[in-house]
């Protein structure tokens, strides 16, 4: 994880790439979590 970045471009490319992957996983994760949370709702 401890990379040395020589340019702002390198830093942003690295951090934003991880962030975008994380956001995609989060969107899928929160959808799954919603189903887990509401699975036993009485109106289902």
């Amino acid at each position: 994880m401890e990379n040395t970045f020589y340019t702002l471009h390198d830093f942003l490319l690295h951090s934003e790439s991880i962030t975008y992957i994380l956001m995609l996983l989060s969107l899928l994760g929160i959808l799954g979590f919603w189903f887990f949370l509401t699975a036993r709702d009485e109106d289902k």
Binding site: T19, L22, W34, R40
Partner: protein, 393 residues
């Protein structure tokens, strides 16, 4: 009437009253020392640590935990969740008293109380975040006062004035949500000015968002926590509607808190990722950060979800208490523990016992005011004259 006097004495000399009385007495003595001898005599504040627990705990935690007022009134009046209606008055009362005592506590820190209106009358510091926070808190305190007035007006029997205020409910709710969004986030934004002082794991350009989202969690959890305490202490004051609505409220708010906590956990992770601070997680401060993130965000999120799925009200109420502690920990981390993290231990801030004494004094006053009002005004029950009316608030 000797018999009556003995009963009154017995009623007054309860363990709670005695302890509260001692705390108030000590608090008044410290207050006198603070306002006659200054901050130096009562605090461990310094040039390096100008903000202590009177800001970190009394103000930041106080404002966050008073968010139940706007969260509950928004749920009921804006999102139309009328089944939680009975929770509005206690939540608004807690919010009002919370903000009122935040302002009281602020006087201890800034001193010279007669200068409180200066920012609004003498000089508008429109470029300052503190001015925005001050203005929002002043306006929101007024909004909360107006939102709560139907209860004392019903108690006094001022029907016309009460009906007039009730007509303003929706406007006041919208105004309250707007003001809360502004100042809850601005309290986080205050720390954006100190990137070199706050530990990088807690410092983020998303701090305003973190503070706002966590205030929603604080509000939801505090309503459940306070409801649990009220049920123990004021069970006899509650009418059938309050008693019947409490369990659905716990389930509904527990579900909302779980979902918002999940969102909060995600944006905290994204905050680390955006600044590429993953390597800091294996440092001692990183472990402390993970304790907060996993122990007081992810863990209660999961517990709330399990509690909602299993309809386990005890688990949800326990989690609400846990989450309230998590919010306290978060605000103290940002303002005290992870603040000035680079300084040697000898220069770090630890509160003076009188600072802690004033914080305990303020909380005790809040509880005493809450008890005084709840014992007299229609907060946990509907006033018989207005029962089942459409415009009831």
């Amino acid at each position: 009437m000797p018999g009556k006097n003995t009963t009154v004495k017995k009623y007054l000399l309860t363990p709670f009253n005695v302890i509260a009385g001692i705390i108030v007495l000590i608090g008044l003595i410290i207050t006198a020392i603070r306002f006659t001898h200054g901050l130096g005599a009562t605090t461990n504040l310094s040039d390096n640590n100008p903000w202590g627990i009177w800001i970190g705990f009394d103000l930041l935690v106080g404002v966050a935990l008073a968010a139940g007022g706007y969260v509950t009134s928004a749920a009921v009046y804006i999102f139309g969740m009328k089944k939680y209606h009975s929770a509005v008055r206690p939540a608004v009362l807690t919010g009002f008293l919370g903000y009122l005592f935040v302002v009281v506590a602020l006087h201890y820190d800034v001193g010279r109380p007669w200068r409180l209106p200066y920012p609004f009358i003498v000089g508008w510091g429109t470029t300052s975040l503190l001015f925005e926070v001050g203005l929002c808190v002043a306006l929101y305190l007024s909004v909360l006062f107006l939102e709560f007035t139907p209860a004392p007006l019903e108690w006094f029997g001022f029907k016309k004035t009460r009906n007039l205020v009730v007509k303003l409910t929706m406007v006041l709710t919208i105004f309250g949500v707007v003001l809360s969004t502004l100042h809850q986030s601005s309290l986080g934004a205050l720390f954006l000015i100190a990137p070199s002082k706050l530990h990088p794991l807690w410092y983020s350009s998303y701090l305003p968002v973190f503070f706002f989202i966590s205030s929603i969690i604080a509000g939801l959890s505090m309503v459940m926590f306070e409801g649990m305490l009220s049920h123990r202490a004021f069970h006899d004051k509650m009418d059938a509607a309050h008693l019947a609505e409490n369990d659905p409220l716990t389930l509904g708010f527990g579900k909302a808190a779980s979902f918002v906590l999940a969102g909060y956990f995600i944006i905290k992770l994204i905050g680390i990722s955006a600044d590429n601070h993953w390597n800091l997680l294996i440092t001692p401060y990183g472990i402390w950060f993970l304790i907060e993130l996993i122990g007081f965000v992810a863990f209660p999120c999961f517990l709330y979800a399990v509690g909602v799925r299993d309809k386990n009200l005890k688990l949800i109420r326990f989690t609400a208490t846990w989450t309230v502690f998590g919010i306290i920990l978060n605000r103290l981390n940002v303002s005290v523990i992870a603040f000035n993290w680079h300084l040697p231990l000898s220069e770090r801030y630890f509160p003076h016992w009188m600072e802690i004494g004033i914080s305990v004094f303020i909380i005790t006053l809040l509880i005493l005011f809450y008890r005084f009002i709840v014992n007299r005004m229609p907060v946990l029950y509907e006033h018989p004259d207005y029962k089942n009316k459409d415009d009831n608030v």
